[in-house]
Each structure stands twice: as structure tokens, then as C-alpha cells.
């Protein structure tokens, strides 16, 4: 399998997109390619993109599933604006993706599937591969993937239809050849997944993968092969991590560092289900998971568990957040710690259930009855979900309050390399229950944090009642007008106090200048990349990314004042810009996009250029 290195072209980064039918295993090979790239020492960012239907009719546009990743020897912050190489497994995949492939881009197609029926299903009147102009436009590589795979597997005991299903790995093998990716991580994956249970499947997929790789080697010696140096990163142990995985691990770590038992309750919903599934697999950590009958119940279970002394967590997406709303009010007035995760997707209603959006910010901030401000934080990348979930644990327990943790489908499903933290270095969270040897006043507050102290059932002498009715400091029901006003202020002030515990806001670039870009959540990579590129061009531009959306950092107002203009890119119709305008009386310019897709770096650059010219 060795190839003369002189045929390699050295590149800094590349963007590859795999597209095929939902049943073609595109997510799987995308992930494998990602793992190989991580293993090869490259930095990576990924964008899985699948349809809402599990299996839309085969061969149709509705059923196209894609996976794009960018990998490189430099720091990679986004999955790339447009692919350098597109693998299209069928006409529908070609049709729905080709407009993104720039002229001269590499196009690998499975010609076996370019039959009349499939062309028709994709809405092609004639075969685009027979169009001379089309052929000239791209660096076209036509592979009869199905036939080649079946040939490679002539010795395999699998049924012919099962043999054909290995064609995705044949394609992967070919692309691994082109980009010099190692096969070992994928071979190891086959062994872990099927080695024991279905050795003949592991064997067939390995054969297909290697055959695809060999084809690259023998097919055409003149074909370019690319080589990427390792990314220069801090030494240490690395792994690949997705946002939802990082959330799960952060919750486990947070509970351990606070010495609390973790109870998670949830109701399945895309894209939050992996949190329920991930934690349910961690029983050996003593984690209790409850699949509740709906999102209301999930929130109720969490509140009950919190009352009983567990660190409780729920995760859902927009529609589930709506259902939880009344209960979140109860958690607020009773002042119980609960971590409420919203992995956002396109809304309203069922909206775009498998596409990304950041349109639940105002819901997180305000969607409750009564005056009910709550802490809201947002993760900005897959690995940042780890830090953010620990931060959510810290806030919930230190301030005895529900916390809203936001991520989005892009961050949750995307993956990147992660410098594995040392578990022993995770700071402990100091959250004590009431001491039974002291008098207990259920809503007496810590003068610094304004947090109350919880007393949990089972402790003798601390029996007390809590509930949704307004109460006074001693916990007794109290409807006095002044008391209600005081309590409403206290609850709000307590949330405000969290700002005292935040580090100074980090600016990307100079401390003052012409344009300040303010972002939050999953737009981090695109904003940072665009800002960096423009700084290199000599523009006076800086960016900052907010983790804390309520309370906002105390220094934010001053920072804003030091810039001539402020622009706020968001995947919604301008929700953070509305808040910044209201809070700082600044003419924050909204830069919005609601297509279910992340920002392209080029889109942001164009907009920033406009503001600076």
C-alpha cells in the first residue's frame, strides 16, 4: 500500500462531503473519515446533515443524507464553506449537493446508481454524467462502486444484497487513499463493532475498505494524492468528541466534583436524545436515568429529585422547553437546582427538526409566567459543551437555582479533537446541605450569593414545606404585597449576582476598534475564522463570544463602548442583538440567517466588509 511520496501534493486543509441515500451509511463513513483524520493528527470540524425522515423513499431528494468535514494542519474551526471533494452515491445526492461544489472540485460518483429510475426519482431528465460541459466542469471520478464492491467480495459468504451494502466503505477506502488517511482506525472500528458478533460482516467491510484504497493506488497514477502535516497542538492525550458526548461527560464530572448523585430524566427528542441514551449507559457511575412520559414529567421528576438532594438534569429541544415552562417557574420560586438543557433545532413547532438554529434564546430568557429571570449559558463548540455543563452544575448548585444550558444541533452533533482533561484537575463545587444541628430557615440567604440552603428529606429536625405559592423567608405562605415585591427582587438579584463570579470577557483582537462582532453558541468557529481572516487583511475588527447570556458579563457594556460599530451574527432573526440594544442602548446590527445551516465564513466576511467600507 505504500506509494511514492513524490506524488503527494502538500495541502493545509481540505473539505470533503459524503452524500448518499439515508440508507447508504453516509453518517457512518463520515464519522470514520473524521476518526482517521483525527488519528492522523489533523484538526477537524464536522457537519452531519441528515433528513428528518429515518428512511425517506430510497433514491429521492428527501432521503439524501450528508456529512461534511474539514480537516487540516492548521486550526480548523468550521466544517468548511464548500467542499473540495464531493462523494455522491446516487443521482439525488448529486442533485442536492452539486451546487455547493466549486468548479474544478473533485467529484466522485457511483455510476452504478445512475440508472433511469434513479435519475427520474432525482428529477433529472437526462444523465448529467453524459453532459460534456458538466464533465469538464469538475474533476470527475466515475466509479462503479456497487459492481466493484461485489467483485471485491466475491469470496465473502454474505448475500449479494448485503455485499452491495458495503459499498460505502469501498468509497471511504478510496477517499482515504486520496487524502492519505490511515485505514487502521476504521479496521479497528469493524473489529469492535462486528468482530465478535458478525465476523463475516467485519471481514467483508474490511475487504471493501481495502479494495477501495487499492483502487486509488492502481487506478490512475497521475491522479493527485494529498498530504497534510499534523496540526500543531498542545501535547497531550486527545480524542474526538461530539457536543452531546461532551455534555454527558461534563454532567458526570460536575456531579462528581460536587459530590452529588446525578439523576437525569428525559423524553426522547431530536437532537437531545443522545443525552438520555448516553447517561443511561453510565449506570456504573451510579447515574439514575428516568425516561419520563413527556417533557413536563421529565421536569417534574427532576424537580422532585432535586428536592430529595440529587443533582438533577433534563435535556430537550424547543418544543419540550415549551412543555417544561410551567415547571421551570416552580423551580424558580422554590429555588431548586436543576440543569435544563435545550439542544436547539429549527422552529417553531416541529419546524426543521434535524437542522440547526439558535432561535430559542429569547425563549430561554423570558418564556415563563411571572418575573422569572434565570441563568442562561451557551456552549460554542463540541468540546466547549464539557466546560459549559460543568459551569451549569456550578451555577445550579452554588446559587440553588435552575439553569438553562443551550447548545444547538450543529454543536451537539458536530465533532472535534479534544485535549482530554485530567479528571483530578476539575475544580470541586462546594454545595452543602443544611446542617441538622443548626436552626433551619428554608429561604434564608447566603449574603454573598443570595442562595438559600437546601435541607433534604431524611434529615431529622429539618422538616419543612416548599411550594409554588409566594412565601416569606421562613418558607411560610405569604401573600403580602411588599413581601412579594421583595421576594421577586431577591430572586432576580440572586441571578444577577452570578455575574460577580465570571472571569473578564476575552476579546479576540484589539481592545478597541472599528467593528466588534458579538456572538454566542455554535457560530463561534465561523465568527472567529472570519474575524481572523479580516484581521490578517489589516481591518480593525475584534470578536467576542458570550458563554453567559444571563446574567451578561459586567464588563460587556464597557467593551461595547470602545468600538465604533457592533454587529451580532445569529442563526435567528436577531435575538441577542435585541437584548444588547435594550440593555446597552447600542445600535447593534443584527446579521441573521435561518436556513437550518451554519454561517459560512465567506458570508460573515462579506457582511463585515460591508460594515467596514
Amino acid at each position: 500500500m505504500t506509494q511514492a511520496t513524490d506524488s503527494f501534493e502538500e495541502i493545509e486543509s481540505a473539505v470533503v462531503r459524503f452524500a448518499g441515500d439515508s440508507g447508504d451509511g453516509m453518517q457512518t463513513i463520515g464519522e470514520r473519515f473524521t476518526d482517521s483524520s483525527a488519528f492522523a493528527g489533523n484538526d477537524i470540524a464536522t457537519l452531519p446533515d441528515f433528513p428528518a425522515e429515518i428512511r425517506a423513499p430510497a433514491g429521492t431528494l428527501a432521503g439524501v443524507s450528508g456529512y461534511q468535514l474539514q480537516f487540516g494542519s492548521r486550526s480548523i474551526l468550521t466544517p468548511g464553506d464548500e467542499p473540495d471533494a464531493l462523494v455522491a452515491m446516487n443521482p439525488a445526492a448529486l442533485k442536492s449537493n452539486i451546487s455547493d461544489l466549486p468548479e474544478g472540485g473533485m467529484l466522485v460518483v457511483n455510476v452504478d446508481s445512475f440508472k433511469k429510475m434513479n435519475l427520474k426519482k432525482a428529477g433529472y431528465e437526462s444523465n448529467p454524467l453524459e453532459d460534456e460541459e458538466f464533465r469538464k466542469k469538475y474533476q470527475l471520478i466515475e466509479l462503479d462502486l456497487t459492481t466493484l464492491t461485489k467483485e471485491a467480495l466475491s469470496e465473502s459468504p454474505l448475500k449479494p444484497s448485503d455485499k452491495a451494502r458495503c459499498k460505502n466503505f469501498f468509497a471511504l477506502g478510496f477517499m482515504c487513499y486520496v487524502y492519505g488517511r490511515p485505514l487502521d482506525p476504521t479496521l479497528k472500528f469493524f473489529d469492535q463493532k462486528w468482530g465478535k458478533r458478525l465476523p463475516e460482516v467485519a471481514e467483508a467491510n474490511s475487504t471493501a475498505l481495502k479494495a477501495g484504497h487499492n483502487l486509488g493506488d492502481t487506478m490512475e497514477t497521475a491522479r493527485n494524492r494529498y498530504q497534510l502535516a499534523k496540526a500543531v497542538v498542545q501535547p497531550g492525550v486527545y480524542r474526538k468528541i461530539s457536543g452531546n458526548e461532551a455534555l454527558v461527560y461534563g454532567l458526570v464530572a460536575g456531579a462528581q466534583s460536587a459530590n452529588r448523585e446525578l439523576l437525569y430524566s428525559g423524553y426522547p427528542i431530536t437532537p437531545a436524545s443522545p443525552v438520555l441514551e448516553g447517561l443511561s449507559a453510565l449506570k456504573k457511575f451510579g447515574i439514575k436515568t428516568v425516561q419520563a412520559e413527556d417533557e413536563i414529567a421529565a421536569m417534574g421528576v427532576a424537580i422532585g429529585a432535586s428536592f430529595a438532594g440529587d443533582l438533577s438534569v433534563v435535556a430537550t429541544s424547543g418544543p419540550g422547553m415549551c412543555l417544561k415552562s410551567e415547571f421551570i417557574g416552580l423551580a424558580s420560586i422554590t429555588e431548586l437546582p436543576v440543569i435544563i438543557c435545550n439542544v436547539q433545532r429549527g422552529g417553531p413547532s416541529t419546524g426543521l427538526p434535524t437542522k440547526t438554529e439558535q432561535s430559542d434564546l429569547l425563549q430561554s430568557l423570558f418564556s415563563r409566567h411571572g418575573d422569572c429571570p434565570l441563568p442562561v449559558i451557551a456552549a460554542h463548540s463540541p468540546s466547549d459543551c464539557f466546560e459549559c455543563s460543568i459551569e451549569a452544575c456550578r451555577i445550579a448548585l452554588t446559587y440553588c437555582t435552575p439553569v438553562i444550558y443551550l447548545s444547538d444541533l450543529y454543536v451537539a452533533n458536530g465533532a472535534e479533537p479534544w485535549l482530554v482533561p485530567n479528571a483530578a484537575d476539575i475544580p470541586s463545587i462546594d454545595a452543602k446541605f443544611a446542617d441538622p444541628s443548626e436552626e433551619y430557615i428554608s429561604y434564608k440567604r447566603n449574603p454573598n450569593t443570595l442562595a438559600r440552603t437546601q435541607a433534604i428529606p431524611g434529615q431529622p429536625g429539618l422538616e419543612h414545606r416548599i411550594g409554588g405559592l409566594e412565601k416569606s423567608e421562613d418558607g411560610g405562605v405569604n401573600y403580602d404585597p411588599e413581601n412579594h415585591e421583595q421576594m421577586t427582587h431577591l430572586r432576580a438579584d440572586k441571578v444577577e449576582r452570578i455575574a460577580d463570579s465570571l472571569p473578564p470577557t476575552q476579546l479576540h483582537g484589539e481592545q478597541q476598534g472599528d467593528l466588534l462582532v458579538i456572538g454566542w453558541g455554535g457560530t463561534y468557529g465561523a465568527i472567529t475564522s472570519a474575524t481572523q481572516a479580516m484581521q490578517a487583511e489589516g481591518f480593525s475588527i475584534s470578536s467576542l463570544h458570550l458563554r453567559h447570556l444571563n446574567p451578561l458579563p459586567k464588563d460587556l457594556g464597557d467593551i461595547i463602548k470602545r468600538f465604533k460599530k457592533v454587529i451580532v451574527p445569529e442563526l435567528n432573526l436577531g435575538q441577542l442583538s435585541l437584548i444588547l440594544r435594550a440593555k446597552y442602548l447600542v445600535d447593534a446590527i443584527p446579521l441573521t440567517k435561518v436556513q437550518g445551516k451554519p454561517f459560512k465564513v465567506s458570508e460573515l466576511r462579506d457582511s463585515f466588509h460591508k460594515e467596514l467600507s
Binding site: S265, K283, A297, G300, A308
Partner: protein, 339 residues
């Protein structure tokens, strides 16, 4: 701070009374139920700090404020979920849930169903006054069809739900009915509920003096009780009144009058532990005036594992092969080293 003596037998009713003024209407049936619960808890051998009373919203759901235990007055209809959270987090607690006919069977019907089928070891007291008390007298899902209330001036349209059948359909493992008029029977029933491992569902006929006064008089009134109510006793034939009993004719129950010297062996004998739900279903559907209305434990199924026990034993089983190591979890199985 009060020092609590948690030793068995040393608690009294007084230990469970709070300083809060009880704010139900004078004459409300809720007082009698509160009294019965406060009389029951000290006799259960459970330390006081282990009791948790969880409720929803309604007149009935004010209950936790009057119990000197840990308590949680939650939101309308959702008490089963909070109770599930408490019990799942700490199975060692004795959890009592209080709900109303509207709270438990209208807005919270779904949650109640799931609590019952999960079989958490929680005692559910459903105060059925066949009316919405707290919102001032609209009809409820247990109100008889044609009920005239402020929201249904010419009569309600929907057919009522039978709480006992609801519980049966939800796979409840303990189903009983009692009445606010009968202290002794309430205390007995509550004790049996506590002794049962699994969710215990108790419907309590509760009189709302203001909005639905005397709703249960035909079966709980002193003069008519013996003729129109059927007190279930384990292992005993179904007898009521002077000389009446219930027997089966095919799948249908029928009333028989026993003459002097008649044999009781024809009569149905009460076996609450029968696995087949048909018998409990027949009892649950018997109601005055066609039949006497039954009181007591209709059904009691033992040996079904509780949710919280299953939850915790899965964890224990998994941990018996070694507890989780955070560093191993974070590192995962596919890490690489950058020098």
C-alpha cells in the same frame, strides 16, 4: 429547632400537626382526611423525617402545608412526576401523594397513569369531591353527566371517569376506596396502603360543603350506609344490609336476598389478591343505586417489583462489575497522544 424522636412508637398525632392555620372551608371533608392521616403516620414505625407529602393544586392539594413533615405543594396535575423524582432519588423515603379529582384525573391523568403503571412505592390519596373546589365549583371529570355548575349551566356533557377502573386499567397494584365520613376505615386503609410495596391508589369520597354538598350521602350517610354501601372484607362473602349479598350470574353481579338458613356459599367471596383483574373490575363498576357501592381494598397484587427498586438494582448490578472511573470515561477507547 424541634428535636425529633424518631424511635418507633414514640411519635404521636401532635408531631404531624403544623402551626399553619388550616384554611379549608368549615365543614369540608378535607379536615377529616387530614386528621386520619395525622393519626396514621405515627403508627407506621417510620421516622418522621422520612415522610414526604407531595401534592398538586386544588383545595385538597393544600394538604402538605398542614403536615409537619417534608412537603412539596407543586403544580396542577403534576404531583405524580415530582413524587416519582423524590422516590427515585431516595427510595428510603415514605412518599405520600395528595391529589384531587381534577388534579389527578383531568390535567394530571396522564402522569397518574404512568405513576401507577411504574409501580413506585408511593401512597396516592385522591380526594374525590366530584367538583373543582379551588376554582369555585366547575364540574370535574368525576361529576355525573348532566351536572349543572357555573361552567355548565344546563348540564355537563361528558361522561365521568371511574377512578377505580382508571387505576385498574393503569395496572395499579393496590386499589382501594374509603370515605371522609369513616375515620376508622380511613386509618385502616392508609395503613394497608403503607404496608403494600408498590403504588397504592386510594379514592377517598370527600364532601365539598360549598360546591357539591352531600354528593355521597346516598352511600355514606349514617342511616343508609349499611344498605347502600358494601364493606369489603378479605376472605369474607360480599354481604350488605340485613340479609343481602352479591353473587355472579355469568359475568354479571346480582343481588340476592338470603332467607333464613340459606347457604352463603353462592355469594362472591372477597379475594383482593386475585391476579385476574376481572373481579376487581366487577367491584369497581358496582355503584348505588343498582348495587351497593363498595369500600375497602379492591385489589392488591404482591410481588411486582417497584420502579425505584428496579432502577437501583440495575445500577448496583452494573457497579458490581466495578464502579465507573471518570478519567477512563473522558479518555475513551480511541484516544491518541500528541508529543
Amino acid at each position: 429547632m424541634s428535636t425529633t424522636n424518631t424511635e418507633e412508637g414514640s411519635l404521636t398525632k401532635k408531631d404531624f400537626v403544623t402551626e399553619n392555620d388550616v384554611r379549608w372551608c368549615p365543614g369540608c371533608g378535607d379536615y377529616a382526611i387530614l386528621n386520619a392521616v395525622q393519626r396514621t403516620l405515627p403508627e407506621l414505625g417510620v421516622p418522621k423525617e422520612k415522610f414526604v407529602v407531595v401534592s398538586g393544586i386544588g383545595c385538597s392539594s393544600r394538604f402538605p402545608y398542614y403536615m409537619n413533615t417534608y412537603g412539596f405543594h407543586t403544580i396542577h396535575g403534576r404531583a405524580p412526576t415530582v413524587a416519582t423524582g423524590v422516590k427515585s432519588a431516595n427510595p428510603d423515603l415514605s412518599v405520600w401523594m395528595v391529589t384531587g379529582d381534577g388534579d389527578g384525573l383531568s390535567i394530571g391523568g396522564n402522569h397518574l397513569m404512568h405513576l401507577l403503571r411504574r409501580n413506585l412505592d408511593i401512597n396516592v390519596l385522591l380526594f374525590n369531591n366530584r367538583i373543582y373546589g379551588l376554582t369555585k365549583g366547575q364540574y370535574s371529570p368525576t361529576s355525573e353527566v348532566g351536572k349543572k355548575t357555573k361552567s355548565t349551566p344546563v348540564g355537563s356533557l361528558d361522561y365521568p371517569i371511574n377512578p377505580l377502573l382508571f387505576a385498574l386499567g393503569s395496572e395499579a397494584t393496590f386499589i382501594a376506596r374509603t370515605s371522609d365520613t369513616d375515620q376508622k376505615h380511613m386509618v385502616e386503609t392508609f395503613k394497608a396502603a403503607q404496608a403494600h410495596k408498590g403504588t397504592s391508589f386510594i379514592e377517598i369520597f370527600q364532601n365539598c360543603v360549598i360546591f357539591n354538598n352531600n354528593a355521597f350521602d346516598t352511600v355514606t350517610g349514617r342511616e343508609v350506609r349499611s344498605e347502600q354501601a358494601l364493606m369489603l372484607e378479605e376472605g369474607k362473602p360480599l354481604r350488605f344490609g340485613e340479609n343481602k349479598g352479591i353473587r355472579l350470574n355469568g359475568f354479571d353481579p346480582e343481588i340476592v336476598e338470603l332467607q333464613d338458613g340459606d347457604d352463603e356459599s353462592d355469594l362472591l367471596v372477597h379475594h383482593s389478591k386475585t391476579n385476574n383483574p376481572a373481579y376487581a373490575s366487577i367491584l369497581a363498576q358496582m355503584a348505588y343505586p343498582a348495587f351497593p357501592t363498595p369500600f375497602g381494598i379492591l385489589r392488591q397484587i404482591e410481588g411486582r417489583e417497584t420502579y425505584e427498586d428496579a432502577l437501583h438494582s440495575q445500577i448496583k448490578a452494573s457497579q458490581s462489575k466495578g464502579e465507573g472511573n471518570l478519567q477512563e470515561l473522558l479518555t475513551g477507547q480511541n484516544s491518541w497522544v500528541v508529543e
